[in-house]
């Protein structure tokens, strides 16, 4: 669990200049139980001070309600950190009884969501009333996951807890709805404005007594904005001049209040302080060693400490770290940028190098960008890009790469490879392919000192080429790419293993997944060793895909769920592929409802999914919807999805698995032509595989040619290591053909073989869709529990009877049914006798299960027989 520094969970001390605001405190106290309290106003409006005053006042009055306080920062948008921070604050409030289960959560190494459940439950049962203040809640909104975590806390407001949010902007927690249901107590900028009396009190408490007129001028000019008032008073105190003169200038100036006052404050600093603070202003958070490095003063920390006690321009956030007052810092930073732009850039460059050496690569890249130093950005990228890729910090990489000009990005092989890997991670194979060509062209024929393309570059290149080839954006990887030495650092090694595994999976058939699985396990080990979230998620997703290749839905579930867990903060666009694989497993394990729901959830989100993921989700969804009874609609959606896929690359095994679903659906509708189209598509992608042979055997069976079906399925039965799905389907078809040939003994042994394979992989669905006679035989068995019982149940259930396919002649007649032609005219058109046409029409009606021409047309359209 994340450690939260104690400084973030204490109620902040009241500054010496603070002015008591009893009227606002009373409004807060008057909020009804169960209402959410929000204090929303711009920076410097006095939100934090007001809430701190409220908490301290109650504490001094020995009120029952204790306060738990969290000062949020941007990193808390990660739900793991968010919930850890809330828990730390609750425990720090020191009112949770010693035997309360909440204490047990602290040591738990659980993920955010598990902590959240336990924490919300624990808060519900808390025997004492508690006020929970989340200060700076707006910082959560820069990531979707942060907003979601906050919304969850608001939605489940625990009974005895008074929840208070302070933020600069409205948090996305459904405020309008709460307002309508009277669930909200709001204080906004107009409420927080200082009154004239409060402004006078503020000035007096800072030792700057003002006349009534002077206060009025100050109040009018600042509009009661707390930070403005304070800066003005600070400037007045610093200058020790006649307040009248200052106020006259201030009120006559057209500049923005903060801008004017910022200038006054800077002008009032001693040259030494101004130089020191200016040098430090490029960083918000200043660990002492960084302050020393930036300022060049060994005693920088001591001087900051002095300033902390002096004017309140510097805060100490924890021992060894200071923070400049945001407003002052921003003005100092702007001042340095204008007066000494070279120095300003240099300071950012110094900060960039310092953060790069202290394990904050994303931070470092941002400073390098502000330093406007492409050479530094390029240098940092070469050092930190691979760990950033492994962690999944793509935005930082994209930003840094965008800051380099195109020739730099393209002509430096290292950078071109990094850019290619970012494009591949973003599923933009075409852009990646172009960069890979540049990288190949840019690698010098002979290693040129002083920076020869060392083993690091070779591994990076192999990684990018393997990923690209798997994504269909490059040639088959060369032997050099697969055989390159594995680098020592865990991020590079892990990515290389992942790339090898992914590349092997792209073409693997069942029986040759061992190598891919071994590579992916190595990638997983590296991810765990280095704490690389994205690498971990990708390795698990690869292992789930390996199980698809093996036709093993049971093997999919574990790694796929682990991948989604490791990636739980990622966008749905990123996890869609794994979700589709998981839905495929649900479907094959006999749970179409769950499969359909899983796919629908993603398909309904208005996000642009990668083409391959969208196809997989729609294909599984179509099959699941079919299993739930809407066969025609499901099959039509699946076909449309496949046609929309175009020539996007797809691992061969995935193409086969999805094609089998669609082929089966077509046959269930009696639509042999649609089934043929699927087979043709799969042959074009993967060649003559066993899946293609299975499809051909299915068509023979569907058209009643049982002997031909038996012959066609025969070779599939003796395969050495077929995918689980193929083995079960082949044996089921063999059983059905045996039963049609009255060979019950052979049928039983085939069914036993199908059951054995089905048990191993938890494959239930093939039994539900098996031939009528095989199903009847299985339904006669009465196992009490386990896999065989589930199979017996689906076989006894109202399983879908495959519709009898129409003959070619019948399809020709069917095509004329939507027209208004009467039977004699149709006979004339087809050059046959009227009787023949009438016989065929009757046969069509029978096969479609209808009694009128209109219903025949409707039903045929549903089944995709008529378009």
């Amino acid at each position: 669990m994340v450690r939260i520094p104690a400084s973030r969970t204490v109620v902040p001390p009241l500054p010496a200049w603070s002015v008591p605001r009893p009227a606002l405190r009373a409004r807060l106290a008057a909020a009804a139980a169960g209402q959410l309290i929000v204090v929303i106003a711009p920076a410097g409006s006095g939100k934090t001070v007001l809430l701190a005053e409220w908490a301290r006042h109650d504490q001094e009055q020995h009120q029952q309600t204790a306060t738990a306080w969290v000062g949020l920062d941007r990193d808390d948008a990660d739900p793991d950190r968010f919930w850890a921070a809330v828990l730390a604050a609750v425990l720090a409030a020191d009112v949770v009884p010693a035997d309360d289960p909440l204490h047990g959560l602290r040591g738990r190494a659980a993920a955010g969501d598990d902590i959240a459940d336990a924490l919300l439950d624990g808060l519900d049962d808390l025997p004492v009333p508690l006020r929970l203040v989340l200060d700076d809640a707006h910082v959560l909104s820069h990531r979707r996951s942060g907003s979601r975590a906050l919304a969850r806390l608001v939605r489940h407001r625990p009974a005895g807890v008074r929840l208070v949010l302070a933020a600069r902007s409205d948090p996305a927690v459904g405020l309008p709805r709460l307002r309508l249901s009277d669930g909200l107590c709001e204080l906004r900028v107009r409420d927080l404005r200082f009154t004239v009396d409060e402004a006078a009190a503020l000035a007096a408490s800072c030792g700057v007594p003002l006349t009534g007129d002077e206060v009025a001028v100050l109040h009018r000019r600042t509009e009661g904005w707390a930070a403005g008032l304070r800066l003005a008073v600070l400037a007045l105190r610093r200058d020790r001049e006649e307040p009248g003169a200052f106020l006259a200038r201030f009120s006559g100036d057209e500049r923005s209040v903060a801008d004017y006052l910022g200038g006054e404050i800077l002008a009032g600093l001693t040259p030494d302080d101004r130089a020191l603070l200016g040098d430090l202003a490029v960083c918000g958070r200043l660990p002492d060693p960084l302050a020393v490095t930036l300022s060049g003063h060994p005693d920088a920390a001591r001087r900051l400490e002095e300033l902390t006690h002096g004017l309140g321009m510097v805060d100490r956030v924890d021992p060894g770290t200071h923070r400049l007052h945001t407003l002052v810092r921003s003005h100092l930073d702007a001042d340095l940028a204008r007066r000494r732009p070279d120095r300003h850039r240099r300071q950012h460059a110094v900060a960039a190098r310092w953060w790069a050496e202290h394990a904050e690569p994303a931070h470092a890249l941002r400073h390098a960008e502000r330093a406007d130093d492409p050479a530094l950005t390029a240098d940092l990228l070469r050092r930190v890009a691979v760990p950033l890729l492994a962690r999944g910090e793509l935005p930082a990489l994209r930003r840094a790469l965008a800051g380099l000009d195109t020739p730099t990005r393209r002509d430096d092989p290292h950078l071109a490879l990094i850019a290619a890997l970012v494009h591949l991670a973003d599923r933009e194979p075409a852009s990646a392919a172009a960069l890979l060509r540049s990288a190949r062209a840019a690698v010098p024929a002979r290693p040129a000192p002083p920076a020869p393309p060392g083993p690091g570059l070779a591994a990076l290149r192999a990684t990018a080429e393997l990923f690209a080839s798997a994504a269909g954006a490059g040639p088959r990887p060369s032997a050099g790419a697969t055989g390159v030495a594995v680098p020592d650092d865990p991020a590079s090694a892990g990515l290389l293993h992942l790339a090898r595994g992914t590349s092997l999976l792209a073409t693997a058939g069942a029986g040759d997944t061992d190598a891919a699985r071994a590579e992916l396990r190595r990638a997983l080990a590296a991810a765990r060793a280095g704490g690389f979230a994205r690498l971990e998620a990708d390795a698990y997703a690869g292992l789930a895909l390996t199980a698809v290749v093996d036709g093993d839905p049971r093997g999919v579930t574990g790694p796929a769920e682990a991948a989604l867990r490791a990636d739980r903060h990622a966008t749905p666009v990123r996890t869609a592929g794994t979700a589709a694989v998981l839905a495929w497993a649900d479907l094959l394990r006999g749970d179409p409802a769950r499969a359909a729901a899983r796919c629908a959830e993603l398909l309904e989100e208005s996000v642009r999914l990668a083409a391959a993921d969208a196809y997989a989700l729609r294909a599984v969804h179509g099959a699941a919807v079919g299993d739930l009874g809407r066969r025609g609609a499901g099959a039509a959606a699946t076909r449309a999805a496949r046609e929309a896929l175009g020539d996007t690359a797809l691992p061969a095994a995935v193409a086969a698995a999805l094609a089998l679903l669609e082929h089966r659906a077509a046959l269930l509708l009696g639509n042999v032509r649609a089934a043929h189209a699927v087979t043709t598509w799969l042959v074009a992608r993967t060649g003559e595989t066993d899946e293609v042979r299975l499809m051909r055997a299915w068509v023979e069976a569907a058209t009643g040619r049982w002997e031909a079906a038996r012959t066609a399925v025969g070779p599939l039965l003796g395969r050495d290591r077929p995918p689980g799905t193929l083995r079960v389907e082949a044996h089921l078809l063999a059983a059905e053909t045996a039963l049609r040939g009255e060979d019950t003994a052979r049928a039983r042994s085939a069914l036993d073989a199908a059951l054995a394979a089905g048990r191993a992989h938890d494959l239930v669905r093939p039994f539900a869709l098996a031939g009528v006679r095989a199903r009847a035989l299985l339904g006669e068995r009465t196992p009490v529990a386990g896999f065989d019982a589930r199979v017996a149940a689906v076989c006894r259930g109202a399983a879908p009877e495959a519709a009898p396919p129409l003959s070619e002649r019948e399809l020709v007649v069917l095509a004329l049914l939507p027209s208004l032609l009467a039977a004699p005219a149709m006979a004339e058109e087809l050059v046959v006798s009227v009787n023949t046409v009438k016989t065929q029409i009757r046969s069509i009606y029978a096969k479609l299960g209808v009694s009128t021409r209109r219903h025949a047309v409707t039903r045929a359209r549903e089944r995709g027989l008529l378009v």
Binding site: A43, H142, R255, S256, D259, H331
Partner: protein
């Protein structure tokens, strides 16, 4: 959001504060200052808004200007 954007803050800005917005055009209109520029993504606009907040400037409006890039 990407494309051209226009942000209005109240009051005039000193040269010092203008220096905090390199790459943006700064224009003065009565009682307000207009900062305008190009953004590749929402992140860039957020960075500008963060800086405005940090400097204590009062945001009046934020507009996306529908206009194709020049050149």
């Amino acid at each position: 959001m990407s494309g051209r954007f226009e942000i209005r803050v109240s009051g005039r800005l000193s040269d010092r504060t203008r220096a905090a917005f390199p790459g943006l055009t700064v224009e003065e209109v009565p009682a307000e200052t207009v900062l305008s520029g190009w953004s590749r993504d929402a992140d860039e606009v957020h960075t500008v808004l963060d800086r405005i907040q940090a400097l204590g400037l009062e945001l009046v409006s934020l507009l996306q200007v529908p206009e194709p890039p020049e050149g």
